[in-house]
Symmetry: C2
Subunit: 359 residues, 2 copies
């Protein structure tokens, strides 16, 4: 089958169709829960979470990877795999919010906060908070299990399953190791730019960009040459994506990012931005960073003082320059990807989408 | 292939061989972590957890289910599926301990406590506790992902995968819904024997006994008649298993159960035992239950007063009687299981093992 024989959906159509797959899947789960008299709030929470936003970046990259490798096979199955990546991402974010004890995600209360609220009746405040965290852990666990269900019920051929599962396994391990590095680094006094870059590579560059592209390409039988070429595009783009995220976490506008701007600083997350600032800070600046970053009581004035250090040390400017350099490196690598021509434009568009974002 | 053509391993051999599969798998994960300079403590923690105990009940039931259905196909693949159930169980227990904030499991510190200790350096006590909980959530997540990896790399035929995955999907959802019911019921003032029985059915009877048997049987191509017959044995046995667990949680000896005897009472877990006591308590007894069950400060004297109420209301005796009735019901159902004759003795042995336990 040649690329021309398949009607290729555009970015908006992919988003719409992936959302439909997720909706149908969770509607079926809601029906099962109703039949067995099990808590309806479980599928409802996931459904609301998925409806609350998200750029569907990983599904888009998955479908584009498939197109890049000549789009052979069944589009419906590819869309279901793409949807399974979005469900997997819901799992990651729900657990991430529990671990960070975040209040807000995508402009609305996080899953554990919402559930604490729903189960406040008859419980003390702290008991309700604990119940909320426990229930969110379980809903995240189900999202992981259900992402696998979406995958193995996608109707893939035996050959496709054989090509895709090793990549899925690697992706799952990589993102969890990346998160592990993030947690062990956070709030700890050993920053280090190298360590922060490694964390970004595992938890974001590979997970968000490289593996979704690989998984899609593998569905169309891509060989190692194509996968390696896609990596040369994906990894710098993914690092740029994380660097942008770090900047937004400190300098972003809550109204557009959908999350409080003080969380990253309060949490003491060892981003590349902070690692650079710590590396270059004079004694007074170091004092500001040590005293305020990672402090649960950080207030807006304190955050302004930290931002001033990030500016004065040139850390912000360096990170902006790193983003630009990686973006250009990714676009240059794209020239050498031996993919179906039409997909280049889509990959460029997704690259821009990933970086020129404000949320 | 007839049953006689396959050399059937006995209970101890199954345990040993499943443990070997898990060891080899985690050794490979440790090598990968070393090669990529990722935290060695991740596979190490899981490896230590799996080595710390566990009766390997689910793997035993899986292999026995396979034998009951005539043991056709590759034993090595069946053992790998059995090992994947044990890895899945590690995931359940690690997350369960985070949710319950338990200190001890199998006589040693729980995973989150151990990790909090390992990452105490440079952190406040509460920050270390939070890091420990986050890392244990991630290690549990990996155990879930890796249980799936063990499963889909087991070398199953396309037909076996088709027969087994729907049961795996159902098992995963059932246990998480069961836990969800447990959390929403815990610490809440709506006990109810019916609700407690339903929780036990989902989080234990189906998960621990019925589905492992079904999964094993499905690997040998069991039909619905055999699966239904196995359910009639498994569900009463599984309920009896949970009832025994409830008794051990209150009347057990920490030296043999490997966990503190006050946890269930402090947590305010709405067991069938407590639901029965609440149903029958007079005003003074109700006062004891309301005041002490679910109190984080419960001391040994308070626990003795609660135990006295559980005895005086006859709740303990009733639960003992319920265990006996269910055990007998399970054994009677076994007579009608159209399985390979030799497996009956094994199922009876596992049933006794599950119930006459002290841990």
């Amino acid at each position: 089958m040649t690329a021309a024989a398949v009607e290729l959906p555009d970015v908006d159509a992919v988003r719409r169709r992936v959302t439909t797959v997720l909706d149908r899947f969770l509607e079926a789960k809601a029906r099962t829960a109703a039949e067995l008299d099990l808590p309806a709030e479980v599928p409802q929470c996931l459904s609301d979470f998925l409806a609350s936003g998200g750029k569907r970046l990983r599904p888009l990259l998955c479908v584009t990877g498939w197109q890049a490798a000549n789009a052979t096979g069944d589009l419906a199955a590819v869309l279901r795999v793409a949807a399974s990546l979005e469900m997997f991402h819901a799992f990651c974010l729900i657990h991430d919010d529990v671990m960070d004890d975040s209040d807000i995600r995508r402009g609305v209360p996080t899953v554990h906060r919402r559930l604490a609220q729903q189960h406040r009746d008859g419980r003390s405040g702290s008991a309700a908070d604990r119940a909320g965290a426990s229930l969110a852990i379980l809903i995240g666990d189900l999202a992981l299990a259900w992402s696998d269900e979406l995958l193995h019920t996608a109707g893939l051929t035996h050959r496709q399953l054989g090509a895709v599962y090793p990549l899925i396994d690697v992706m799952r391990s990589e993102v969890m190791y990346g998160q592990y590095l993030d947690v062990t680094g956070t709030g700890h006094s050993t920053p280090g730019v190298e360590r922060a870059l490694k964390t970004a590579r595992y938890k974001t560059a590979k997970y968000t960009i490289e593996r979704p592209l690989h998984i899609g390409a593998a569905l169309a039988g891509a060989d190692d040459t194509l996968l390696a070429a896609l990596s040369r595009f994906a990894l710098p783009l993914g690092e740029a994506f994380q660097l942008r995220d770090d900047l937004l976490g400190v300098f972003g506008t809550p109204a557009t990012t959908g999350k409080p701007v003080l969380d990253d600083l309060r949490e003491g997350r060892r981003t590349i931005l902070l690692a650079l600032a710590a590396q270059r800070a004079d004694i007074a600046q170091q004092h500001v960073l040590d005293g305020l970053v990672g402090s649960p009581d950080l207030d807006p004035d304190g955050a302004t003082r930290v931002r001033d250090v990030l500016e004065a040390t040139g850390a912000r400017t360096t990170v902006e320059a790193m983003i630009t350099a990686r973006y250009e490196q990714a676009l240059a690598a794209l020239e050498d990807v031996p993919a179906v021509p039409g997909t280049m434009a889509t990959l460029r568009r997704i690259a821009a989408l990933a970086l020129e974002r404000t949320s």
